[in-house]
Symmetry: C2
Subunit: 386 residues, 2 copies
């Protein structure tokens, strides 16, 4: 009956990486592969207290598609010059990407993404028929100068997607200068910028650049509870230009009516307490900073990565290493990571030399042992063969 | 910047009804318009106990797209001959409709719906580019004989959508004979049947027919916690043929990664306790049955409706009444309903004579007063004018 499938369903990539990652779920494997936050740092007791506060008929009843007004108000305050009317609550930031894709993309429309980029964004854009155009990035994020060349040569994207701070997977933060340049291009060529920033509050060194939102007129800003509170409630939010809000709300109404009311009220209650949330963020930063430094210090010979100032990932390069071929051997010796090719819209041989290492869920001791195993797998694997 | 919108976003109906229904939110209006369950019957204390049981890192962490295994197992047991592998947990049944639409429909593909049908289904099918073909229904549900004529004349739908028990808005239950006939047509002509059954357990009289699932080979069955527990957690589930599961899971992954883990574990914990859930359903049936009978007994002269054996709605017909024109006058005297034309894929003059009356959220006294006000509005409105 597969002939009944829509063109978009037939086109959906049956992710090779997803299959590979099933390997990593074997017992005894130390995983550097996940994008999960550390569960032992979840504010479980605060969630319990928030539940006692919000439990009641409203938390269990249908609600407006736009989202609970108190959560929208909190989200609006987190963005510069943002009103409650510009905020839509989403079922995680993944839904924000899906809604944006469905509202803006017709089949074949170009979407600018950093190469490498967040896999879930590539999936959402592709599912809507978008054509992801990868623009290289470096330590300061998307190479906006390269994008400018493409635009001058005739590229006309509907939108450009950037993870602004500690990007997944590269760990790079888009510099202030490049943010300004990107906003200028957006206004000149008439495309929407989607700035996704789940990791910006997880900064333990350096200074957080200003958001893109007040630099350009067509910016959609995404926020999420997943990395700064808990991901399992599936709560995110977006601030969008007013002409886009109506279509986004109507699309969300057809997609899931609204985000879990209980989840929304819990997140609003948790974020309402500024002091407690600040303490929680300080704890996350301290712990993730320690783990990042620990992993960086013990990286096996042959792997090179920037030492991060925040976020959850090391993006490591191994000259001459085929990381996709390395993964099964790594799992054999009890360690897992995500091969770099997963993150490139147009993978090539060079993209296969990268790997994403998450330090968020292992202890310092676990990270040392994981790095030791990774080194052993690399030694057992001749460079350039696989 | 509206020129950036996708064709599907430009085509999304800016629901006139939605705007009309904002009227009904005025204070002092007794609403027969909502599709909301009665909040005073929510099992709030059971939710509190379930929360204490499930709270922990797992309930707050990312989870598999397919859903929590214990909820999938419970859902599988609710369908005949269903394995856990065939079940996908969804963010409410609305998401199930959206995922099915995106996996099966290319622009212009025909979808058979009962006329009238659930508005959210029409929205999901239209958003995916589907062309809803309305087939009339009667007290036994979809006129499968009329569908057979259309199929014989060349109609080739990708799917047929039915709310099998106490349909929204008609209240009709599809007879066993028609279920068999529909399943036979599905297998002969090669289309998928989507059987949506959020109300089947809310039956206080008569006998529940067997589900379509074991009558045909290409049936997708939907279930939901919204009407039998609480809607605000946004938890539903679907059982699909195996060839459709992969595309559904991949589409859901791009749509929202997974449904709220906490919501899923709460619903699994609540449904796990068979005895408590049976008592809860008995209470819902008794209360809704009482309210249905009370409203039916006091319907204003000029309105005719079947007395329901279950569900949440009276579907009332007023010969010569334009219910869309009546609504603002009804709101003026403090009562609201949903005009029938909202539910018809191709509304005509006759569809404008219907209205949907929900008896779920008002007390018996409230229903009597609402009916009195509705009668007053009708008396003040000359038939056939508006």
């Amino acid at each position: 009956m597969e002939h009944l499938l829509s063109a978009r369903a037939r086109g959906a990539r049956s992710s090779v990486i997803r299959e590979l990652l099933r390997l990593t779920e074997q017992p005894g494997v130390l995983s550097l592969a996940g994008g999960l936050p550390a569960p032992e740092l979840f504010p479980t007791e605060r969630v319990r207290a928030a539940f006692e506060t919000v439990l009641g008929a409203r938390a269990l009843q249908y609600a407006a598609t736009e989202g609970a007004v108190e959560l929208r108000a909190i989200a609006a305050r987190r963005f510069p010059a943002c009103t409650v009317d510009e905020v839509l609550v989403t079922t995680g930031s993944q839904q924000a990407l899906d809604l944006i894709a469905r509202c803006l993309l017709d089949p074949g429309d170009a979407v600018v993404v950093e190469s490498p980029s967040y896999l879930g964004a590539l999936q959402a854009f592709s599912a809507a028929g978008g054509r992801c155009v990868g623009i290289p990035g470096d330590a300061d994020g998307l190479r906006v100068d390269v994008l400018a060349d493409h635009l001058a040569a005739g590229l006309r994207p509907k939108l450009a997607y950037v993870v602004t701070d500690f990007a997944n997977p590269s760990g790079a933060t888009l510099s202030t200068e490049r943010r300004r340049a990107l906003a200028t291009l957006s206004d000149r060529y008439g495309f929407v910028i989607v700035e996704d920033d789940p990791y910006g509050e997880l900064r333990w060194a350096g200074r957080r650049p200003a958001p893109l939102r007040d630099m350009g007129s067509q910016v959609v800003s995404l926020g999420s509870a997943s990395k700064v509170l808990v991901p399992g409630l599936r709560v995110g939010w977006m601030a969008a230009p007013s002409w886009l809000m109506g279509p986004l709300v109507r699309t969300k109404q057809a997609a899931d009516l609204h985000t879990s009311t209980l989840s929304q009220l819990l997140v609003a209650e948790l974020l309402r307490d500024d002091a407690a949330q600040r303490r929680h963020l300080e704890r996350l930063r301290a712990e993730y900073g320690t783990r990042a430094a620990a992993l960086h210090a013990v990286l096996p010979a042959g792997l090179v990565a920037e030492r991060p100032d925040g976020g959850m990932f090391l993006w490591a390069h191994g000259e001459g290493i085929d990381t996709t071929a390395l993964l099964p051997r790594a799992v054999d010796v009890g360690v897992a990571f995500v091969p770099g090719s997963a993150f490139f819209p147009q993978p090539d041989a060079a993209s296969g030399e990268w790997m994403r290492l998450s330090y968020a869920t292992l202890t310092v001791e676990g990270l040392a042992e994981a790095a030791r195993r990774l080194g052993a797998a690399m030694e057992a694997t001749p460079a350039g063969v696989g």
